[in-house]
């Protein structure tokens, strides 16, 4: 992976840290096209009382508005955690070309989230998706986000 990939993942990580500070959950996602950041969002489930407001969904919605299209072909999404099946399928619908993630769904489950444990590789295989997947990118820094979040006494999982 190029150095720029590290830079974009670090932006997603910074966004996740902002989420933790704001009492949100520790997830961030950054969408990039032609080496330009299109959107970079964190999870806002508690802030907006919207169970679908995961970081990836928020980033996809914002990117659609910004690029004025529902077709995000050519975009890469950098996500601090492996997209859950909801977010993986949203990436599919948006025709995102590549998913790069850090922590695994099982790490989120272990942190207390009621995840459906279906990996991105399995979703890709079952759904015959052509999306490219890069797993475990900067995984140490990304798993660390759950530890940071767990230290907050007012943390709430869902």
């Amino acid at each position: 992976m190029k150095k720029t990939a590290q830079k974009f993942m670090m932006l997603a990580i910074e966004r996740a840290k902002q989420a933790i500070e704001k009492g949100q959950t520790p997830f961030g996602a950054c969408i990039v096209k032609d080496e330009q950041v299109i959107s970079c969002e964190h999870n806002t489930v508690w802030d907006t009382t919207d169970i679908t407001a995961h970081a990836e969904i928020n980033a996809i919605r914002k990117a659609c508005i910004k690029l004025d299209t529902v077709d995000l072909s050519g975009c890469v999404i950098y996500s601090t955690c492996e997209p859950c099946p909801m977010c993986f399928a949203a990436c599919h619908w948006a025709r995102i070309s590549k998913i790069v993630f850090g922590a695994r769904i099982k790490d989120a489950k272990q942190a207390g989230f009621s995840e459906l444990i279906v990996s991105n590789e399995e979703m890709k295989r079952l759904g015959e998706s052509s999306v490219e997947i890069v797993a475990g990118f900067l995984s140490e820094e990304n798993i660390e986000l759950f530890k940071l979040w767990s230290q907050n006494s007012e943390k709430r999982a869902y």
Copy 2:
């Protein structure tokens, strides 16, 4: 199924028909709790330039706001078409108790939508979800929606 279930599915079908009239795609979803309609929405992907704005996602977002909680336990969702994996996982996150649907994901694929063909039963099994699933409810009326939509010369799939 009770007669009220037919009534709720017919509301979802009516909403899907409104979507077709407005140039949207032919999907509707109705969320019910204690026999009361909480939300009833259609797909607004084209209207809002939001690839995540499926009928079920719209209905879940609205129900969360209306009930002021991200926990929709005890709710039933009536969907004109089998929820795609994005919408199935959203139902899981929202802790929706039962999913009742009409047409199948393969019917949507046949109509031109780039579906990930992973059935709700398979998602439930893989993710070890406890959601109850009722498939093929009023399937004839629901499959008919795709025919109605296909007659519109300005129809657009995604």
